[in-house]
């Protein structure tokens, strides 16, 4: 294989674009699993990234109302952490005052992301929503 990776400045980024179709978030978790294994994350860390990513994807599917129907996911492998960015070009929302919830027992997606990742930032507006989450590498 590439002895010396070509392109000295090879960025350690993986980009994935998925259509907003039911279950397509699984393509994202599969990719996430490979990336997290590459970074030698342990199984619990891998599961945490996968579930947080699922929540971000299904929110985009369910609420973004994006007309192009795509979710853009970027995995950035840093020396100290994995950053996962989930972006849609939908209608956005106010993270301080999310809409009232239609159903019982819902409304915990963002709380799950915050509970499972080390940091979660939300940038949302009329141009869409970007969730940026990070998970530190295993401390050994």
């Amino acid at each position: 294989m590439a002895k010396d990776p070509p392109g000295a400045g090879t960025s350690k980024e993986i980009n994935l674009t998925i259509p907003m179709l039911p279950n397509m978030e699984i393509a994202a978790t599969q990719t996430a699993e490979a990336v997290a294994r590459f970074m030698e994350f342990d199984p619990d860390q891998i599961d945490a990234v996968k579930i947080a990513l699922i929540e971000a994807c299904i929110n985009a599917f369910e609420y973004s109302n994006s007309s192009e129907g795509q979710v853009y996911i970027k995995f950035i492998m840093n020396p100290e952490d994995l950053v996962v960015e989930i972006r849609d070009h939908g209608q956005g929302f106010d993270p301080e005052h999310p809409a009232a919830l239609p159903k019982k027992h819902r409304g915990k997606g963002l709380t799950i992301m915050r509970g499972l990742m080390d940091s979660v930032e939300i940038a949302s507006g009329p141009g869409g929503t970007t969730i940026t989450m990070s998970k530190a590498r295993a401390s050994r």
């Binding site: 945490a48 579930i51 299904i58 915990k108 799950i112």
Partner: protein, 120 residues
């Protein structure tokens, strides 16, 4: 070879064990719910939900499991969850499922818990 949740049921004399394999999303949660309520209808009021082979859930799937717990409690049934991964356990806590239902480590512990006299 789809991504659909596989569900396996084992019926014992005084309880039944539902084991899942795969992703518990809305469809998966509903599948588990139907099977569990079907078992209750058959007379199995003591249920164990073994999630050993599930390592991803989503919040829609978990909300359906919470509704299931409520419906089973309504008919005086009991449901214990076991073999949760660390991250699923945390997700259940965040969503409030951990308060509503019994969660134990193993199937053996669930059996013991079900054998204990029911609180009024």
């Amino acid at each position: 070879m789809t991504n659909d949740l596989q569900v396996h049921v084992r019926k014992e004399s005084s309880y039944a064990v539902i084991s899942t394999d795969g992703y518990i999303n809305n469809v998966g949660g509903e599948k588990v719910g139907e099977i569990a309520l079907g078992l209750v209808d058959e007379g199995y009021k003591n249920l164990i939900l073994n999630l050993e082979k599930s390592n991803v859930v989503n919040s829609i799937g978990v909300s359906i499991l919470i509704e299931l717990v409520e419906r089973i409690q309504d008919v005086e049934g009991r449901l214990y969850f076991c073999n949760l991964t660390k991250v699923i356990a945390k997700t259940f806590t965040i969503m409030g499922l951990a308060e509503a239902a019994g969660i134990v480590d193993t199937e053996a512990e669930a059996i013991v818990a079900l054998a204990a006299p029911q609180e009024a």
